[in-house]
């Protein structure tokens, strides 16, 4: 049966498609900031530390995505505080929180009976298992992210571009930096169902990195990377369906391939023809 015929019939595929589209919205917006501000490693730290919160939530029989949400925000604020306070040791501390968060998660999951299948799905995503409640959560997170960026577009641009000048103009630089990291945390939670927390980094950065090669305005990069994210999640889902491949990994490989081709093509014709 073809993907499109199956999509018509099965609600789990419709959910999967919708989840991919919703994830692409937040991802395109926040991923753009992650790429231009060069905080990919920071985003990776937040994403991986989330496993700690999910493990604890699982152990306590709480909803795992709620645990993910709480721990992502906690990790974002902790990492943000560290990078503001101990800038010169930032990379080491991010690495430590990255690994410690995962270790906490593994320990709690190991104490919870019947964890194995779920562990894999949180690490690598399982877009076919998206529930209606997940869809609502994702839509809610998208609304929060879009609202924040709409309200504070100027401040986020200033803080990611030139912190010193923003501070001189009276922008609360530290506040907006921490807020930005919290938006990264929300996006990580958005993406966990779709590609899993290990692959989050790719879907967060690759669409924006590709978009950056074609346009030089922040909001255009956001829109373009939203579109690319939708293309990758939908395309990856479709490609993985017939041969029964893991959807998350297929989505990432598709994004990676397009990024590689785009970069080669972009470097070949280096004139500026950005629109």
């Amino acid at each position: 049966m073809s993907f499109f015929a199956a999509l018509w019939q099965h609600s789990f595929l419709q959910h999967a498609l919708l989840a991919g589209l919703l994830a692409s919205v937040g991802c395109g917006v926040v991923g753009t900031y992650v790429v231009v501000k060069r905080i990919t490693f920071m985003a990776g730290g937040i994403a991986h530390a989330v496993l700690g919160g999910m493990g604890i939530a699982y152990y306590l029989h709480a909803p795992p995505l709620a645990g993910a949400l709480v721990s992502a925000l906690f990790a974002a604020l902790l990492l943000g505080w560290i990078s503001l306070r101990w800038q010169q040791r930032e990379d080491v501390l991010i690495g430590a929180i990255w690994a410690v968060g995962m270790a906490v998660g593994i320990l709690f999951l190991s104490r919870t009976p019947g964890y194995n299948a779920d562990l894999m799905s949180y690490l690598f995503g399982n877009i076919l298992m998206v529930l209606t409640s997940d869809i609502w959560l994702m839509a809610g997170l998208d609304v929060v992210i879009l609202l924040m960026v709409l309200l504070f577009y100027k401040q986020f641009q200033a803080v990611t571009f030139d912190e010193e000048f923003a501070r001189l103009r009276g922008v609360a630089v530290n506040f907006f930096y921490l807020l930005l990291l919290c938006l990264v945390a929300l996006t990580v939670v958005l993406l966990i169902r779709v590609v899993g927390l290990i692959l989050v980094i790719a879907l967060l950065t690759l669409p924006a990195a590709i978009a950056l090669q074609y346009t030089g305005t922040l909001w255009k990069i956001m829109l373009l990377s939203m579109g690319l994210g939708m293309l990758f999640t939908t395309g990856g889902l479709g490609l993985s369906y017939a041969p029964d491949l893991p959807a998350g990994a297929t989505i990432i490989l598709l994004a990676g391939t397009v990024y590689l081709i785009s970069t080669l093509w972009h470097n070949r014709r280096r004139q500026h023809w950005k629109f």
Binding site: V36, R38, L150, L151, F152, Y153, K154, Q155, Q157, A158, T160, F161, D162, E164, F165, A166, R167, L168, R169, G170, V171, L212, T215, G216, T217, L218, I221, H272, K274
Partner: protein, 255 residues
């Protein structure tokens, strides 16, 4: 001086666990003045600017800008940093960069207003950037980028302009353009410019403050090689160079 717009009294500064960088600095800058601060690298020039901007706190002494503490007074100050403070490959146009000067004077929520855009256009017109307004900052030459930074500072509607090494990364011909622009802006703004190049700026500014931990002020006519040698603590090569419109030959010192 009662009309001093920037006033420093007995200011001393040291970074934690280091010997003092600035000692007992007294400085008054009058409205409409064009003051150059020169001195060797590591002599405390950038630190002094950061204190005037309220980014660093001196452990001793008073700083006031327009009679206000530095952190409040800087609302009246347009600041032009050295290049290094941002990534040149950041995806942003000239116009959007200049608009950033409106931050703090425009409402916090949503985008810029129409009057902000009008002020940005006026700043770009004054710095001859209107033709480049849609260009990415990463594609500009050093001199063009410097004018963008000046336009961004002008968009703040300042009455004081502070520039940190505005000609550090650009060639001589463009350097003159930048200083001619500053001379023109000096008709309505107080200007404070930091440079390591005494010879060049003394053709433009009216008063030079020499900074190497302590501060000495001179009118530009009083600059001599001996004075410069004292400042730099070793003999310097003095080269006479002449800017055509400014007939007075002056020693140049590149450290």
């Amino acid at each position: 001086m009662s009309d001093a717009v920037i006033q420093l009294q007995a200011v001393s500064f040291a970074y934690p666990d280091a010997s003092p960088i600035l000692e007992n600095i007294n400085l008054e800058i009058a409205a409409g003045e064009f003051l150059g601060i020169v001195g060797p690298n590591g002599g405390g020039k950038s630190t002094l600017l950061k204190i005037i901007l309220g980014l660093l706190q001196p452990y001793q002494g008073q700083v006031s800008v327009h009679g206000l503490p530095a952190a409040l007074g800087r609302a009246h100050v347009g600041y032009v940093p050295q290049f290094a403070s941002f990534a040149r490959d950041y995806p942003i146009s000239v116009e959007d960069t200049v608009l950033m000067g409106r931050l703090g004077k425009t409402p916090m929520l949503f985008g810029y207003r129409r009057q902000d855009r009008a002020l940005a256009v006026a700043a770009m017109r004054e710095t001859q950037l209107l033709d480049l307004r849609q260009r990415q900052i990463g594609t500009l030459s050093g001199g063009q980028l410097q004018r963008v930074l000046i336009a961004r500072a002008l968009a703040c509607e300042p009455d004081i302009l502070i520039l940190d090494e505005p000609t550090a990364n650009i060639d001589m011909r463009v350097e003159e353009d930048i200083f001619d622009l500053l001379k023109q802006l000096n008709h309505r703004l107080t200007i404070l410019v930091v440079s390591h190049d005494i010879g060049f700026i003394s053709g433009y500014v009216r008063r030079v403050a020499c900074l190497n931990k302590t501060l000495l002020c001179h009118t530009t006519e009083a600059l001599t090689s001996r004075l410069i040698e004292n400042l730099y603590e070793n003999p310097v090569r003095a080269i006479h160079h002449q800017h055509p419109p400014y007939a007075q030959p002056l020693p140049t010192c590149r450290h």
